[in-house]
Amino acid sequence: MYKMRRSLALSAGPRASRKLGNAPRRRKIGFLAGAIAMVAALGGTYAGFAQANSVKKSGKTVTIKIAIESNSNMLNIENLIGEFYKLYPGIKVDFDTLNENNERALVETDVSTHANEFNAVMISNYETPIWAKNGWLQNLTPALTADTSYDINDLLKPIRDSLSYKGNLYSVPFYGESSMLYYRKSILAAAGETMPLHPTWAQVAAIAAKVNTPSVAGICLRGVNGWGDNLAVMDTIVNTFGGSWFNDKWQPQLTSTPDEQAWNFYVNLIKAAGESGASQDNFPQCETLYGEGKAAMWYDATVAAGLITTTYPTVGADTGYAYAPTGNATTGASGVHSGWLYTWSLSIPKGVGEQADTLKFLEWATSKQYLDYSGTQTKVGGQPFGWADINPGTRYSTYSNPNYQKAAAAFYKITLNSINTATPAHSTDPNVAIPYGGVQFVDEPWFINLGNEVSNNLEAAIAGTETVTQALATSQTEAKAAVTSAGLLK
C-alpha cells in the first residue's frame, strides 16, 4: 500500500515528485503507515481475544486445527466432515490445506521449533520415526490399544511398522501406497504388445518407444523438482538398477556406475517416449494426461488406481495394472522389487492442547468406520465417488471387504502385495551395503534439503539445460556436503 502511494505520488508530476524529498511529507506518510499498522495489530489482538472467549464461554465447542496436504483423498474428508460432527458435536475441525512441499515445510518448522500452532499435523513415514526419536510426537499406541473399536491390529503391518519407533505408533495412516505401472490395454494391443504382470524396465522402455506418437506419449513420468516429486520415482529406479545414495561408509554414490545408468535411463526414456514438458510434470499432471488418453503408460503411486477408475471411467476400464518395473535396463541384470512405501499419516505434536479431542478426530479419520462410510458415497464434493476411491493401503479389513474387492478387482491385489513386499529396511540390491533406510528417501533429518537440491539437478537434466553427468557431479558434491556437515563422513 505504501509502495503504491509513493508511485502514484510520482505519477502526479514534478510537483509531487519533489515532495518525496520533502521531510514533513515523508514523516506524515511514515506516521500514517505506523498508525495503520498499530490499528491492524490491535484489531488482530482483539479478534484473538474474542475468539478465545467464545470457545471458553460455551465450554462445549473445541476447535482443533490440522495441517493437511492437498491430495484428493484429503479433500474428500473435508467434504465428509459432517459425519464426524454428527458423532462429536462439541468438536470443530479447522483444516489448513497446503500443497505437498509447502505443507511439509510449514509443519516441519512448526513441530521442530515447538511453535505448536497445529493440534495435529499430516506427515509421512519419512518424518514419523525421526521426529519420534527426537521426542516431538505423542505416542499413540497406549490410547489406540485401549480403544478396541479402533482395532490397531487391523492396520497393515508394513505401514504400521513404517510409522513406529521402538515398537510404538507415533502416527496413524490416512492412506498408504506403493508404486505401480498403469497402461492402456487397447493401445498396447494395437501395437501387438502385451505387458507382463511383473515387467522389467527394459520391456517398458521398448513398449513405450513403440507406442509413442506425437499425440499420445509412450509413458508419463514425473520430472518436476522436489524430493517427493521426480526423485521419488527416480530413487525406485536407482534401487532396482543396483545403485544407492551412500555406501556403508556414508560416501556418496551418485556418480557410481549403477546410479549413472539409472539416471541416463530415466532421462533418455523421457526424451524418447515420455510426455513433452515432463520437466514440469508431477502426479496431478500425469493423472490428467493419462486420464485424458494422452499417455499410453504411467508409472506412479498405487493410489492413482482408484482415481483413474472413478474420475476417468473410459480410460479406467481400458487400464491394465502391473507391478513396479524392475531390473537394470543397461546391464540386463534383474533388480530388486522396486515399489516404494509411502503413507500420509496424522500425528499429534507433543505439548499441544486439546489432545483428547484431537485423538478422536485422528481415530475417526483413519478408522474402518470412515472407510465404510466414504465407500457408500456416490458423490463427494460434486465429483463421482465409490468404493474404489476409499483411502487405500491402511487396513486389512479394506482388502477383505467384498464391496472394495469388487470395485477395485483389477488392482487391489497388486497394491496390497506391493506394500507388503516393499523393502524400506534395505531398498537396493542385498549385496550392496547401505547405512540408511527408506525406499524413495534416506531416513535422515538432513535428507529433505539434499533431496530437493538433487531433484533440481534431475529436473535440469530432464529439461536438457544440463547433462546427466553434470547433474550427477553436482549432486555428488551436494551429498558430500550434507553427510560431512551431519558429521557422518569424516
Binding site: 508511485s7 508530476g13 524529498g21 506516521f31 505506523g34 499432471q285 537440491e453 533440481n456 529436473e459
Partner: protein, 322 residues
Amino acid sequence: MSDALATAQQLPADRGAPASRRQRSPSSERRKVWVRRLPLMPALIYMIVVTQVPFLVTLWYSFRSWNSLVPGSNKFVGFSSFSTVLSDPMFRQAAVVTVEMTASAVILSMLLGTSLAILINRKFRGRGIVRTMLITPFLVIPVATGLLFQTTIYGSYFGILDWIVSWFGIGQVTWASTYALPSVVAVLVWEWTPFMMLIVLAGLQSESLEALEAAGVDGANAFQTFVSISFPHLRRYIELGLLLGSIYIVQTFGEIFILTQGGGGNGNATTNFAYYIYKQVENADNYSLGAAAGVIVVIATEIIAVFALRLLSGLFQVAEGT
C-alpha cells in the same frame, strides 16, 4: 503556538538583554522540535520493534549453529556459519543470479517503460483508459502474477507461449525449467515496466514547453529534440527509476517461489539471495545458516545502499534546484 505568542510578548523586555534570550532559545527550539516529532513516535517505535529487534535476533542466531531438525545443535559457534555460507558455491551463485536477475529486469523494464511513457505522453482518445491498463500489472500481487504466468503463459496445457511457438512447428517447451531465469525476468519486467513508465512520464510532463518550442523554431526534428533536450532532462528521472527498481527487484521472492522454486539451468539458476535464505531456513531448517546469509546480504546491501542513497539525495538536490 502559545509558545510563539509568549516569546513575541516577551520580546520588548528581552531586547535589552540579548544574552539571556540566546540562552533560552535553544531549549525552547528543541522542545518545539520534539513536540513536532511527537506524533511520529508511535511509528518510530513500531519501526524499531519490527525491524531492529528481529535484526538483533538474526545476528544472535548467526553466531550459533541452530538446525531445528538436530536437537541439541543450538550452540555458540562463532563465525563458523559465516564461513559455511561464504564457501557454499550455491551462495556465490546466488550472488551472480541476484545481479543478473536485478540488472536485466531493471534495464529491460526501463527501456519498455520509457517507450511507453513517450507514447502515453501524447494526447489521444482513451488515453486515461490505456494509462490505467498499463499501470495495472504493478498493482497485482507478485504471487498472483507468478501463478498467472505459470498457467496461462508458460503452462504446458493452457500456456499461450506453447501455442504461439507451435505455429512455427516447435513442440512443447518447458519454459520455467528450460529458460528458468528469462522466465522469471519476463515476469519481473511485466510487473515493473509500469513503475518505470510512471517515473519517466513524470519527467516528460515536467519538461519546459518553451525549450521544446525553441528547439522547433530552431529547426530541430523530433529525434534531435529528444536526444538533445528531452533525454538530458529525463536522465535524472531514469536514474531514479533504476535505483528504486533495483532496490525492490533485488528482493524478488514470490515469482521465483511460484515459477521455479529456485531451479533451472544447473539446478539453481533462479536461486537469488532471498530464495537462498528461504531454502536454508525452510528446506534445511538451518536457522543459523539462514541468519548468517541474511547478515552477509544486509552488510552488502548497506554498502551499496550508502552509495545509492548518496546518488539519490544528489538527484533530489538537483531536482529542487531546477
